[in-house]
């Protein structure tokens, strides 16, 4: 049984190498990577980071939304025994960056690059994903993520990480305590989740903002490597509702707020009150109706609504944090979706810092 995240990846590559590990959307088209391709990519990235001086005591700081490139580079840093600090690109991280003084940074776009540059001590290596607005050759150590793949040694370095090593670090604010999660903690919790929810390699999970909060690492990333299901990345945060509809995931993870946002999104698209369509919707959403009414309501209203929400194949709706509001619970309950709370025991033993978001907006 793999004891670290990179070893879990290698195990999946060995046992189910041709299965799809990851799917991401670029320029309107879905692209897929198998477990063996993913392991190769991570190995090459590990070699590239190693060439740039990244070692087992180093930390890679990532400022990015959910993007497959960021996930791969995080695994590559962990492959080398290093840790990964994850910051939300939508926050002002300048003060925190000035305190952390990171040496290795992956910044998603110009805004994040500018935040990093604001720090007194520039990082040794500053990688970017989206070069829009950046001038070529500007700044020492600045290079494109895509360039990591050119001129890399054929053989990746040996996977050097240990179970007790820190995999991810999260910061609530500039001066608050950090939350540090080891490989062992992550995988231990993930195995419990996989067993409890009977997750298998057949699941399709949607990952929006994988790196924004600790809950994503605990309840999505680590279970993904344990169970070997497919992790899908939307094209952008703005397209996640469309992308969910196209994918029809079987596993989603969200908070009270993210489920409420989705409920609101659906309600805005309902027929206007007083119309025949609205009365039909109300008729079909009554929870304890007779069998015929349930059946007809499902095919006339609830099934099309589930399709619009991208939840018609949903099997495991996870909820992290506080329970849904009564309205949201009733709305999703009528659709047959009952998000259950999930708090792994290990999470309760860690420093209780409520300011560190468990998860944000993944549904």
């Amino acid at each position: 049984m793999a004891q670290t995240l990179p070893l879990a990846l290698l195990q999946q590559a060995q046992t189910r190498g041709s299965a799809i590990a990851l799917r991401y959307k670029r320029l309107g088209i879905w692209h897929a990577r198998s477990w063996s391709e993913l392991a190769q990519d991570v190995g090459r990235l590990a070699a590239a980071l190693h060439q740039r001086g990244f070692g087992r005591h180093d930390d890679l700081l990532i400022i990015s939304q959910a993007r497959s490139e960021a996930l791969l580079l995080a695994l590559a840093a962990q492959w080398l025994g290093g840790s990964v600090t994850l910051l939300d690109p939508e926050r002002d991280n300048r003060a925190l960056l000035a305190r952390l003084r990171p040496s290795f940074v992956l910044a998603e776009a110009l805004d994040a690059v500018q935040q990093v540059r604001h720090a007194d001590l520039p990082p040794r290596v500053l990688l970017f994903l989206d070069g829009r607005g950046l001038n070529a050759g500007e700044g020492k150590g600045l290079s494109a993520y895509a360039d990591l793949f050119s001129g890399v040694a054929a053989e990746p370095p040996v996977c050097a990480t240990e179970p007790a090593a820190i995999a991810f670090v999260f910061h609530a604010d500039t001066h608050g305590p950090s939350l540090r999660l080891s490989h062992a903690q992550l995988l231990g919790g993930a195995r419990k989740l996989v067993a409890r929810e009977h997750l298998s390699g057949a699941e399709e999970a949607l990952a929006a903002r994988v790196f924004a909060a600790s809950g994503q690492a605990r309840y999505l990333l680590a279970p993904w490597l344990c169970a070997g299901f497919c992790l899908n990345f939307p094209e952008a945060m703005a397209t996640r509702d469309t992308d969910r509809r196209e994918l029809g995931p079987t596993l989603v993870l969200g908070t009270r707020e993210s489920y409420a946002r989705l409920e609101q999104w659906a309600r805005e698209r309902l027929p206007l009150p007083g119309t025949l369509g609205y009365r039909l919707y109300r008729w079909a959403m009554v929870p304890e109706a007779q069998a015929f009414r349930r059946w007809l309501g499902y095919w006339l209203i609830r099934r099309p609504l589930l399709d619009v929400l991208g939840m018609s194949r949903l099997r495991v709706p996870l909820l992290v944090g506080p329970a849904l509001s009564q309205e949201s619970a009733a709305f999703f309950g009528a659709l047959g979706i009952h998000p259950g709370n999930w708090q792994e025991p290990s999470a309760r033993q860690e420093p209780a810092d409520t300011r560190i978001p468990l998860i944000s907006q993944s549904v």
Binding site: G28, I29, R132, G133, E235, A236, A238
Partner: protein, 266 residues
């Protein structure tokens, strides 16, 4: 006629245009350097849109020469202008409202198609590969202008500001060297204008596209453009950098209405 320099993409020499005896443009000359953002400003009826129409061949000037990419000509049809890399947007949105955003942007790629109609109909030869390439290029523009959340939405259902962006995307899909924008920010609020200005700046920087635009918001023009040409009653009254134009007494007079009072004082 003045000689064009290598850095000039567009040069207008002594252009005049009239409609049934009404002079819309009178002896206008100016040059636009490759890679610059040039604004045409002036009060309503100054001849700005007519001048754009002369540049891309919708109107034929009665006199004068338009030199584009080193080639001088007296007459050019709009399709020839498009083939030579001139694209434009319109003051009143001219999109296919019943088509999706993606399909509208793809229409901007029509001139780039090389397969014959029979190949297209039968999906033979170059057609399938070319379709994939057209889609990829259109998607790049769609992503660049951040309209991907609406790529499959009918254009008629989009708000005005987004429709303006789709129109810009369609023009950009033709991979123009010269982009003519007729009031790209008309009817927009301050936030939308900021956003559109940023997109125009990005297009200019990332693709090296030369831009000639008409805009009424002087604040936007001064912040966005490298070069400003001021028209008034079909004549050019100012031409220079935003700072030069701002200090030009004729421009101040035209915009602030001080011409009469100055004349009276003489």
């Amino acid at each position: 006629m003045s000689a064009t320099t290598e850095s000039e993409l567009l040069r207008l020499d002594d252009i005049s245009l009239s409609f049934k005896g009404v002079k819309a443009i009178t002896s206008i000359s100016f040059a636009v350097k490759a890679g610059e953002i040039c604004a045409l400003i002036g009060p309503n009826g100054a001849g700005k849109s007519s001048l754009l129409n002369v540049i891309n061949g919708v109107y034929q000037a009665q006199s004068g020469i338009v030199t584009y990419a080193g080639q001088a000509r007296r007459r050019m049809r709009p399709h020839q202008a498009a083939e030579r890399g001139i694209a434009r947007t319109f003051q009143n949105i001219a999109l296919f409202k019943g088509m999706s955003v993606l399909d509208n942007v793809l229409t901007g790629r029509n001139l780039k198609l090389r397969s014959s109609w029979i190949e297209q109909v039968l999906r033979l030869g170059r057609a399938p590969r070319e379709d994939d390439e057209q889609r990829r290029r259109a998607e790049k523009i769609i992503e660049f202008l951040r309209i991907h959340p609406w790529r499959h939405v009918l254009v008629g259902k989009l708000p005005y500001g987004l429709q303006k962006r789709v129109e810009l995307a369609r023009a950009l899909a033709a991979e123009p060297r010269l982009l003519l924008l007729d009031e790209p920010m008309a009817g927009m609020n301050a936030e939308e204008k900021d956003e559109m200005s940023q997109f125009i700046r990005d297009i200019n920087r990332e693709f090296g596209t030369t831009v000639v635009l008409i805009e009424h918001d002087i604040g936007v023009v001064m912040g966005l453009c490298d070069h400003v040409v001021v028209l008034d009653y079909g004549r050019k009254i100012g031409d220079g950098t935003p700072e030069q134009v701002r200090a030009n007494p004729d421009v101040i007079a035209a915009y602030l209405g001080t011409r009469r009072s100055r004349a009276e004082s003489h």
